[in-house]
Symmetry: D2
Subunit: 275 residues, 4 copies
Amino acid sequence: MSGDSKLNRPEYEALLKPLGKELVSLSRWVGEKGKRIVVIFEGRDTAGKGGSIDMFARVLNPRQCRVVALPSPSKREQSQWYFQRYIDHLPAAGEIVLFDRSWYNRAGVEKVMGYADEAQVEAFLKAVPEFERHLVDDGIMLFKYWLCCDQSVQELRFGNRLRNPMKRWKLSPIDQQARLHYDAYTEAREEMLRVTHTDFAPWTLIEFNDQQVGRLTLLRDFLDRVPDTELPLAEIDWPPLDHEPSKERYSVLQPLEPYKLPDEIEQRDMIHSWD
Amino acid sequence: MSGDSKLNRPEYEALLKPLGKELVSLSRWVGEKGKRIVVIFEGRDTAGKGGSIDMFARVLNPRQCRVVALPSPSKREQSQWYFQRYIDHLPAAGEIVLFDRSWYNRAGVEKVMGYADEAQVEAFLKAVPEFERHLVDDGIMLFKYWLCCDQSVQELRFGNRLRNPMKRWKLSPIDQQARLHYDAYTEAREEMLRVTHTDFAPWTLIEFNDQQVGRLTLLRDFLDRVPDTELPLAEIDWPPLDHEPSKERYSVLQPLEPYKLPDEIEQRDMIHSWD
Amino acid sequence: MSGDSKLNRPEYEALLKPLGKELVSLSRWVGEKGKRIVVIFEGRDTAGKGGSIDMFARVLNPRQCRVVALPSPSKREQSQWYFQRYIDHLPAAGEIVLFDRSWYNRAGVEKVMGYADEAQVEAFLKAVPEFERHLVDDGIMLFKYWLCCDQSVQELRFGNRLRNPMKRWKLSPIDQQARLHYDAYTEAREEMLRVTHTDFAPWTLIEFNDQQVGRLTLLRDFLDRVPDTELPLAEIDWPPLDHEPSKERYSVLQPLEPYKLPDEIEQRDMIHSWD
Amino acid sequence: MSGDSKLNRPEYEALLKPLGKELVSLSRWVGEKGKRIVVIFEGRDTAGKGGSIDMFARVLNPRQCRVVALPSPSKREQSQWYFQRYIDHLPAAGEIVLFDRSWYNRAGVEKVMGYADEAQVEAFLKAVPEFERHLVDDGIMLFKYWLCCDQSVQELRFGNRLRNPMKRWKLSPIDQQARLHYDAYTEAREEMLRVTHTDFAPWTLIEFNDQQVGRLTLLRDFLDRVPDTELPLAEIDWPPLDHEPSKERYSVLQPLEPYKLPDEIEQRDMIHSWD
């Protein structure tokens, strides 16, 4: 969650907050109506897939919302039907599944880096619209986002990862290759869009040169495309306790000594909630 | 990530940052050495399990670090060996698995709410130390955290959820019951600790009356208990591009119109990264 | 493996034997070439699906050949994409999967018994040819057999199950209903055939009024439709042992007392292999 | 199902039949009472594991009774807890699971062939009694059979596989090695028995020099060790059809031409059931 932006952090959070509320409302609707939602996040390395997924995952119930980030396929999986291991993670009623990369790997990194041959990519592109139509016909709500950024921005972000030990894990050997193939990725994307941007399962491209703006754009679009999800909040009967609130009591094991704060903070009273 | 705290947000983040760096370093060590880590998060409703898990998940690679938050067992699962559906999610080499609640459900909510009978709870308590020793003997690093808070704090947080539509999803019918059984949960926890706080798989209790301090305490403890994980950062060869950086080019589909910012922001130039 | 037949058992087995050899040869070819085979067995209750599957399973390596007989879907599975739980069992390279009933349940028992509504059946019939084409395009060899028998034969076999405690498990409450809907099943089958008997994934109907002849017919057809699978048997170097063959020696536990044979047999020497 | 035996086939089948009836009765009891049964088949190569498993599988409902024959572990599985991939297949209520080889691989083939090192075998032998006690304490009925045969018999059977194309698939490169390590297998078995033959999960050794007698011995033992499973057969209301039985009618597709029988058989009428 960093980078150059038109927004400073408080501004960003102020803008995000009402969208978050709508997202929570939507998730309640998904749960109560038994809807199933799939959101695919594809895009340039460094564009901001991870941060966008976090934006969803942080406000949603982890029992309702799953992130699917599959590792490389095993040898056995490689010999199976290409879609098989993704299908395994499709949502049941009331669930929202966020795919951090997806079956589109085949038309992206696998094509550009030569892990899949021409015939495999073609077969994939032929199959994918029908495959997605099956999901949509079955009632799954499918959203496909492709996160764009210019190479100058990508280079800055790669540089940041290179120098920042916190982010170094994000730099894989594939990234080293990927930056040299920026244009090949563009081409692959355009070819992919040509056949997989369909009426029933359209793509949405979103510019992530400014990640904060990009995330707001993505979430606003997602919320606008789901039909009215306003549900009255359930009435909850919430009587006061009929006794003094209890305190923790420990007989077997004491809690850990709390983290040592700087002295001037340590002596301070609690301060009011900052969120 | 809210509530009363001794820390304001910038202070909290300043304290968290160096711990985050250590966590990333640790995750690299886990990956390169093929270690396997399981972290169990148990505790009071509202104590702060979700926020603590986020603290890990946000800095770790989603392909390395999985959150496991199992739904209620199906009827078929209920008839299987109790541990079976949890075992399915144990880590392979290089993986970190965060359990948002765990097999300890049986000695907590299931016991207090009567979903499991006496005999089942006893059988569970008898089995669990051996079960965990098997994992530990096999080389899995197992961390068990129980997040504590006083009932007065819990009541405030429940009230907050009740009034805040963003957080209403966190209020389940079970919560309504749970608050009435605060003391029963205490008792159940103590009994559970008595038999499952073992040399090879000890519990750590952490006070979460102040959630920011609680999270710092937990992460500091976790980092301290893993042996020295300093690994030199891999040298990465990163030559400059040999051409002007490319720009995104769109032939099939244009990116979405960006989110409309307030006018005064819209006209502003990018500002420097705030993270 | 019983019923009225034109063949007595020795005749049947003499005819089956060479086909079994071809099947084994085919399985070697599947393994060495990394082929994937799916065989679907559908048909009338009592027609003989189980016996036909046994005919395959008995001569094939259980590590290569799996039988898939799914139980009723759980509630969660019912809310998922209809094909999802079947897809999970599709073969990897070198595997042969035998489906004892299959996704066609939806157009058969589920339709006739009213477990699926009109819209669901229609949606299924629309989806299935494309779904199967995806598998076939991906290189999976797909065989679909529907086993037929007249109602008079079915009634005899039901009667046999009713009276024979060994076979009573085969009589489910659904069977009781099914016999009353013989004609509805016929109609459902014909409608299903009309849309799912395709060039790339044709059905084969086989008459099982005579089960022995039915099985021979099915296996002969299957073998004829797979391209030439003759592979030379691998040379195996098999030197004689360089010592007297060892005998079992038991120090911890003795073998169980063998089953008590009738006296006249007990005293007899081994007799020559009967297979 | 071949080899030298004291029994000819009709004799064997006559003796097997009543045991099969009891097995079916037992399976009804398992289903109605929601019991869970695991049967482990271990033993010498060629001893007769496959045939023994068939003996069960052929009379049991495939929706109730599963055969588990796991392939070699993937690299990812190799790094997981050793028991994990077996646990995945443990039975739910009403199910019978037959393990064609099992977790005992580690103390057998893996030890003898050097796939597991000393420390791994020791760790396994230490863990397995507790692991099995967990299953047994949980109510799973666990049966462990080890099928024995003398090397002279094994050599004859290997030779048979070598010469018989139908059986050649049973000859793996490991077999070639295994025969040279007959005594090492004996030793490994005895060491394994010493620690894993427990009160709650005892082993049963069965001599399979005569496979027919071996199978009868095994099944008799299994049946004797399950408590009285006699349940009255459910009354089934079975009214006669109220119309002439229907015949198959085909509008879309005709059944396949039946397998061409030798002329003298073709012209014959149906003969009476031979089973």
